[in-house]
């Protein structure tokens, strides 16, 4: 609680925390904020640019937010050019009824934050299959944002256990684990990721891929944490209270859990927050090259994969928007991590 207060006192920390809470909140309640289901395709709206929201039409006496209908012409290069059809007006309704979903997985409802009835609203444009990118970003965020948290937490646990054990016992155990750590750290992570991904069949279900990505990313990430925890454990084990605990006959395991690891926690907290971006980016890059989350399911990396063709970027620049979400999230986690470090360890203010 004290830490939370200090974060809020700090300007950068406050902004970062606010944005992150907002992101996670909207992602958790994705079906409520999203106007359409994530796989709701509509070939007639392939690559629709972001819909313009209007507020005033004097001729039709329409006030408040509304959108026009859409028609398209095919250009000489067989490319669709979308135009607003001013004869059709769809007012944006708030807390309107839409597709059915389970609110938090508990009870069924069909209320959404906004909707336009018959028309189609694409806040951030549409992709190849005419799916709403805004909706897919919300759903994709569920995967991208949770992988960051879970992956960082798992690799922290592995790092704490291995680092704690090897620092506490020292000697040969320490030597071997540290060599393994160095090896894992030395291999360029992208190649390691590819090699690990190669050891599993390419066609897995989405849930399996999701778990696999977490496993792969934790496997890559534990080493650096373990090394630092080990360093701390080596100095901690020389403390008098550790000797006292030993003299009182406490088992090694209990000493590590009760007397060594708790002292590394403030470092661990900073490390987790600063490492989350790496996991989000890891998932994004795997999905981007088509080895991660597969198509009907959305993740921020996989949404970006449609931008792989230069023509697509040029003609439909809005498909890059998921990348902006990645950048914002990463900036916020970095800011939060730095603030945390300043709070927990005022001596190390470098950046």
């Amino acid at each position: 609680m004290r830490i939370l207060k200090e974060i809020i006192k700090n300007k950068a920390g406050r902004i970062a925390l606010l944005v992150l809470v907002l992101l996670y909140f909207s992602v958790i309640f994705a079906p409520f904020f999203a106007p359409y289901p994530y796989d709701d395709d509509d070939v007639l709206h392939s690559y629709t640019p972001p819909t313009k929201i209007h507020f005033l039409n004097l001729k039709e006496k329409q006030f408040g937010p509304f959108i026009y209908g859409q028609t398209y012409e095919v250009s000489e290069y067989y490319q669709r050019i979308y135009q607003e059809d001013k004869s059709k007006i769809y007012p944006i309704k708030f807390f309107t009824k839409g597709f059915k979903y389970k609110f938090l997985g508990l009870w069924e409802t069909d209320r959404h934050l906004f909707g336009v009835g018959e028309g189609k609203i694409y806040l951030l444009g549409a992709d190849l299959k005419g799916r709403d990118i805004f909706t897919r970003i919300l759903y994709g965020g569920r995967i991208s944002l949770s992988i960051g948290l879970i992956g960082a937490a798992i690799s922290l646990c592995i790092g704490l256990i291995i680092g704690g054990l090897s620092g506490y016992f020292g000697g040969r155990v320490d030597n071997i684990t540290m060599r393994i750590c160095e090896m894992v750290m030395m291999i360029p992570s992208f190649y390691l990721m590819l090699a690990l991904r190669a050891s599993f069949p390419p066609n897995l279900t989405s849930t399996q891929v999701y778990l696999l990505i977490i496993v792969i990313l934790s496997f890559i990430g534990w080493a650096s944490t373990a090394r630092i925890i080990r360093g701390m454990a080596i100095s901690l084990r020389e403390n008098e209270y550790v000797y006292a605990a030993k003299a009182m006959g406490l088992s090694h395991f209990k000493i590590i859990i009760r007397h060594i690891l708790p002292h590394t926690l403030s470092y661990a907290l900073v490390a987790v927050v600063l490492r989350i971006p790496a996991y989000i980016l890891g998932e994004a890059s795997l999905s981007l090259i088509g080895l991660g989350i597969q198509d009907p399911e959305a993740s921020w990396g996989n949404l970006l994969s449609s931008a792989m063709g230069i023509v697509n970027i040029r003609l439909f620049p809005w498909i890059l928007i998921p990348g902006l979400f990645i950048v914002v999230t990463v900036v916020c986690f970095n800011m939060l991590g730095d603030t945390l470090r300043d709070i927990l360890d005022p001596k190390r203010r470098i950046l």
């Binding site: 090896m183 030395m186 291999i187 360029p188 992570s189 992208f190 190649y191 590819l194 090699a195 690990l196 991904r197 190669a198 050891s199 599993f200 069949p201 390419p202 971006p277 980016l281 994004a284 890059s285 981007l288 090259i289 080895l291 970006l304 931008a307 792989m308 230069i310 970027i313 040029r314 620049p317 890059l320 990348g323 990645i326 950048v327 990463v330 900036v331 970095n334 800011m335 470098i350 950046l351």
Partner: protein, 323 residues
Amino acid sequence: MGRFILKRLVFSLPLLLGITFLTFLFIQIAPGDFLDKLRLNPQVSQDAIQLYEQKFHLDKPLMVQYFVWLRNILKGDFGYSFSFKAKVFDVVSSRLFNTFILSLSALIFTWIFVIPLGVIAALKRNKFTDRFLSFTSYLGISAPSFFLAFIFLYLATFTSWLPLGGMRSIRFEEFSLLGKIIDIGKHLIIPTLVLSLGSICVLQRIMRANLLEVLGSPYILGAKARGLPRVRILYIHALKNALNPMITIFGYQFSALLSGAALVEIIIGWPGLGVVTLEAVRSQDIYLVMGSVLAGGALLILGNLVADILLGFLDPRIRYEKT
């Protein structure tokens, strides 16, 4: 010095062995292999497949296969790539060269900027310039390379100055030697920018911190007290010592660069090691995967070695002869 280099190379052998064995293990755990495609092809006879299996010892246990692969490497045979239908050595060496060009140009570009920017930020500490650099470096650290690649490609589509991806123009073969170099240089610009922006941002901050630390040390105060010119203190006494830690980072940066380069290569379409590895992993082309991992590892060890040698030249406290 020669003995030191030799020693380092010998010590890096187990590392390479470890990396390749792990990779081998991972790929072999995966169900199926590259022959599966051939097996499904009705035009390929069962005999041919058996012949393949025997030729590449695929019917033997895992350890035997690995040692056969190792033995062949000592003979200079890196195996055969099934998807490229060529020798792995030929496929990997040409790609390795491309990756090397890209990494080198990113490395040079990075260090041209890191040191001056770090010095400027340290000298203008807490003034506007410093704060501006700090802010931009924050953004730069956080923007992932793949996103930067997309953004740069998007911006490049508005002008016709820069080629959009790839490494060579279509009419590359018609150019003169100079034209060829210029052509590749033009193609290098976007990937180099993408790869170096992030590291410029990080390293510039570290350089700043290093220089500030050195400038605060007693011997600088001593030099000032003796009335040495400011410029001389800064550039001869302080800078040299502030650079030492940077050189260690320089070595480690190679690993990060290789890793980052792979993804950027795939997006930009630069025909480097990353693209080949991805292709090989997708088609379970085992010897190609092994070959490219080996090449990547070798490049990495080389990078660290260069950093150590540089450090030996710059820091008189380190003498490799005696160790």
